[in-house]
Symmetry: C2
């Protein structure tokens, strides 16, 4: 009997538009090639960019304006709901990342639903996902218990899990969102999904 194929690893930051876009495609793409996907939330701004010594991308001269236009252009081309204006205040993604890490330990399928709700709240409804009222609604709508999350949070478990996920992602060389690892091979950016698919289809080259 053949060994089961290893899952595709998918890393994202909740305030990354391209992470959101990738989240809408990666499971179906992997399924076409008989693969599961493990989702991991990481923290670009408060972790990876510090390791790299870089400012947030939208603050970069030249590139900052480019990526905002690029995100809007992607959304139009792929007909993805995407309403968040560039002028909106940026949420801190830490609490959302913690809730996701906690949910993933309980049930990966519920955690993916939660991630979908969080992305939608932030990028479609333009809500502040750092607020308990917003995050609580996402947790509840995903079939999880907000009370159970609050209890876990008081004990520090979600923060520990997220910290471990972030440290682990940096260990694996993850430096952006979205980021994919397929059988040890790393791919950065939503444009790489077609290369990820080629890799899965052919077994690599």
């Amino acid at each position: 009997m053949a060994a089961p194929k290893t899952p595709v690893q998918f890393y994202f930051d909740f305030i990354s538009p391209f992470g959101y876009f990738a989240s809408l495609r990666i499971d179906e793409l992997a399924r076409r090639h008989g693969r599961e996907v493990e989702w991991t939330s990481m923290l670009l701004g408060v972790s990876v960019l510090k390791v790299m010594g870089l400012p947030p991308i939208v603050e970069l001269p030249l590139k900052g304006l480019y990526v905002i236009n690029d995100a809007m252009r992607y959304a139009r081309q792929h007909e993805v709901p995407f309403e968040r204006p560039a002028s909106s205040p940026t949420s801190r993604p830490v609490e959302a990342g913690r809730a996701f890490a906690w949910a993933r330990e309980l049930d990966p399928a519920s955690a993916k639903r939660l991630a979908g709700r969080i992305f939608e709240s932030y990028f479609v409804h333009c809500l502040d996902i750092a607020q308990d009222s917003v995050l609580g609604a996402c947790v509840t709508a995903s079939g999880l218990s907000w009370q159970a999350f609050k209890t876990a949070r008081a004990e520090g478990r979600p923060a520990d899990l997220l910290r471990r996920n972030v440290d682990d992602s940096i260990q694996r060389g993850v430096f952006g969102s979205p980021f994919f690892i397929v059988d040890g091979e790393s791919f950065f950016g939503v444009e790489k999904l077609s290369v990820v698919e080629d890799w899965l289809a052919t077994g690599g080259w």
Copy 2:
């Protein structure tokens, strides 16, 4: 009579592997949609990255190793000759850029042949394109006069042209190699060529 379509703008740095890869595809891609391509050499390391306040990409933690692997993987997938090892010394691209800017003013078709020779010398034959012996062979093989270049260089014309091209590229928001501008719309990276093609085919969205 319909106005002729504006040419696609293609910006590249001679020491950018992805600029090299794009140079092998962009003209044919544009031709399929009835477009010419104007090539412009710019300077990533000595100009754009200073404007952005960034170190060279291969020196970045996490991302540096990634891009080297990504370039080798692209070359294998697309069967592009690419021999230059990551351990080779990096050439300064300034003289090559000047020669290209000078050639482009004389004859854009010869300049494209020159760019092809320079990329091949650097990425396939692993030569130092900052050396007159290497650059001179590229100029001659492209049907241009090395003596004419040396005369123009002594008068400062190639340096002026390159400086103007670099300043102009920054004005237009070019921050990486390869970079494409189609009817005012900007696209960064070789992975964006399929999006450039969609844009040309549909007229944009």
